[in-house]
Symmetry: C2
Subunit: 338 residues, 2 copies
C-alpha cells in the first residue's frame, strides 16, 4: 500500500498475478470437478483459493480469486468458461438491442463476493486484499467476439465502425465494473486492480478516443474510496502514458518494456508494477535471480515500485521458485533501499 502511494517502504512489496491458480497443486485439488465459474461463486472456495498462495509465499498482498466475466454472468449474460478455451458467450453482444442484456450490477447479484471479501479481510489482518475486475476493452472483446480471440477483429470493427454503439457498450461495462469494484471495497478490499489485459491490441489514438474516457470514469468513481487503484494490460508499451492519465495510482507494465523506460513514458505521480517475464520462472534459478535483480534496479527509478510478473503465473511454474523469488525480492530490496 505504501509503494502504491509512493511513500517510503522498508523493502519492495511483491505479489504475483495468478498467484492463486493452476500452478498450485492444492488449487487443482479443490477445483477438481468444479467448473471455473462455479468456483467463483462459492464464498468458501473463493476464500480458500485466495488464501492458498499466502500459505506458501511471503507475498505482500492477496488478490481476490475471481474471473473478469463474473459480473457479466451475474447480470445475466450467458457466459461460461470452457476448460482449455476460456470465456465463451452463447449470444454475443453486437447490436443496440443486445445492450439491454447488460443491466446494472447490484450487490445482491454477487453476495458471494461480499461474503468472501469480508471473510478474507478478517482472515488477512494487516495484509491487504486487492479487489479484481476486468477492463472495458477486454470485457467488450469477449462479449462481441463471443469468446477468446486472436485479433479481436469483430470488436475492433465495432470500435472503428460504430462509435455510438461502441461507447454505449463500454459505458454499460464501465457501470458494471464500477459497481463490482465498489462492492469489493465496501466489503473491505484495500486496493483494486483493473485488468484490461488485451487493450494492448489497440493503438494510442484509438485508446485515447475509444477506451480512455470509460477507464477514466471507472477510476474516478473509485477515487472517493481512497484505495490504491492499479491498472494493468499486456503489450501496452505505447499506451503507458495514457493508462497513467486514466487515473490509476499504479500502472502495470509487462516484460516487453524495461521498467526504467516505462518510467519515462508515465507522467510523474504514479507508481509502477511489474515486470519479470513469467517465462523466466521456467529457467534455472541463477537466471531468475539475475533477472529479478535487474527488475529491482530498474524499478528504483520509479516513484514507487510493486514487484510482480509482467503477466500471470504460468500453470507450469514451480511454486518453490515463486517462494524463493518472493524472499529474494524482499531481501535484495531491504539491503539496497530505493
Amino acid at each position: 500500500m505504501l509503494a502504491c502511494r509512493r511513500e517510503p517502504v522498508p523493502y519492495t512489496p511483491v505479489w504475483f498475478m495468478r498467484q492463486a491458480g493452476r500452478s498450485l497443486p492444492e488449487y487443482r485439488r479443490v477445483r477438481e470437478g468444479i467448473p471455473m465459474l462455479e468456483s467463483c461463486t462459492r464464498p468458501e472456495l473463493i476464500t480458500e483459493i485466495t488464501l492458498q498462495p499466502l500459505r506458501r509465499y511471503d507475498v505482500d498482498a492477496a488478490i481476490l480469486f475471481s474471473d473478469i466475466v463474473v459480473p457479466l454472468r451475474a447480470v445475466g449474460i450467458d457466459v461460461d468458461i470452457k476448460a482449455g478455451i476460456g470465456p465463451v458467450v452463447q449470444t454475443p453482444v453486437r447490436t443496440p438491442a443486445d445492450l439491454g442484456r447488460l443491466r446494472a450490477l447490484d450487490p445482491d447479484d454477487v453476495p458471494y463476493v461480499t461474503e468472501a471479501v469480508r471473510a478474507l479481510v478478517a482472515e488477512l489482518g494487516e495484509r491487504p486484499l486487492i479487489g479484481f475486475a476486468g477492463g472495458p476493452f477486454t470485457l467488450a472483446s469477449y462479449l462481441v467476439e463471443g469468446g477468446p480471440s486472436k485479433n479481436h477483429d469483430k470488436t475492433k470493427a465495432l470500435m472503428y465502425g460504430n462509435q455510438e454503439l461502441w461507447h454505449a457498450l463500454l459505458g454499460r461495462l464501465a457501470d458494471i465494473t464500477i459497481s463490482f469494484l465498489q462492492i469489493q471495497v465496501a466489503a473491505g478490499a484495500s486496493a483494486i486492480q483493473l485488468f484490461d489485459s488485451w487493450v494492448g491490441a489497440v493503438g494510442p489514438g484509438d485508446y485515447q478516443q475509444a477506451i480512455l474516457p470509460h477507464t477514466r470514469r471507472i477510476f474516478a468513481e473509485l477515487g472517493s474510496a481512497g484505495v490504491p487503484r492499479i491498472h494493468f494490460g499486456v503489450g501496452t508499451g505505447e499506451l503507458l502514458g495514457l493508462m497513467g492519465e486514466a487515473g490509476a495510482d499504479v500502472v502495470g507494465v509487462d516484460w516487453r518494456i524495461p521498467l526504467d523506460e516505462a518510467v519515462r513514458r508515465v507522467d510523474p505521480g504514479k507508481a509502477l508494477q511489474g515486470n519479470l517475464d513469467p517465462a523466466v520462472l521456467l529457467a534455472p534459478w541463477e537466471v531468475i535471480e539475475e533477472r529479478a535483480r535487474d527488475v529491482l534496479i530498474r524499478g528504483r527509478t520509479a516513484e514507487g515500485h510493486v514487484f510482480n510478473l509482467g503477466h500471470g503465473v504460468l500453470p507450469e511454474t514451480d511454486p518453490g521458485v515463486l517462494a524463493r523469488l518472493t524472499d529474494l525480492v524482499h531481501a535484495e530490496s531491504a539491503r539496497t533501499p530505493a
Copy 2:
C-alpha cells in the same frame, strides 16, 4: 523498389501481407481439397495463387505464396499445417540431439520454389516479386512448442535457460533461412521479406542478445544479392530500433505504433512499411479512407514509405475494399508527394 531504397517515387507503393489467401474466393476455390503445405509445393499453384491478387488490385508488388515452415519441411522436419490450428510439429526440437534434424537446405530440396519464382518473374515483368521466409524466433517457437502458442513458454524457457542450445538452434535456422531466400533471389525475386511475426513477445535486451545476431547474419548474407530486404514482426514497438540495426533496408511496423513515432525509433537510412490495422478494413469506407490518409501523412516523415497493413489481410476482408484502398493510396500520394 524505389521506396525501399529511399529514392523519390511518383506515388507511395502499396502491397498487402496475405494479399493472396483466404480473403479471395478464387483462392478458396483453387485450394479446395488441397492441404496447405501441398499447395506450397506445387509450382503451378504457387504461381496461380501469387498472381490472383494482382488481377484484382493495382498493388506494386507480388509476394511469393508460401509458408514459413516450408523450408523446415523441406529438410525433413515432420511439420504439417492443420486447418484452424496452424503449423504442428510432431516431434518438437528441444535437445542438442534434435538439432541434427535441422540439416542445411539445398536448392534441390525446394525445386518447386525455384520453378514458381522463375515462372512468376517471367509473368510479372516490371512488377517486383517479394521473396518470403520466416524469422528465427518465430521458426524456433513452432519447433520448440510443437505448434502455435499463446505465450511461447517453452521457447522462452530455452532462450532464457540454455543459451548454448538456443544459439545453436537459431544458427541452424538462420542457415536454412539464408539458403531459402538465396534460392528465391537466384530465381529472380527482386526483394525479400523476413517474417519474424512473433518476435514482439521478447523484450529489447533479450532480442539484442538472443535473436539479433542471427537476424543480422541473415540480412548480411543476403546483402550481396543487392535486393531490398524487409523485416517484419508484430507488436515490436520496443524492438524497432534494433530491427533496423539487424540490417534490413525496410522495417515493417504494426498498427500499435504511429508511423511518425516509429520513424523516431529507427535509425536514419531505413524505409518503413505499414501500418493500417487490418481490422480497420472491416469498418465503413469513410473510416478506412480517413485512417489510410492518416497513415500516408505520418508515413511522409519516413525516408521511404511502403504502404501496407500492420499485419496480414483478415480472411473476412472484402476484396473490393482492398482494390479501392490500393487506388486511394496511389491517388492520394500522387496528389501530395512526400
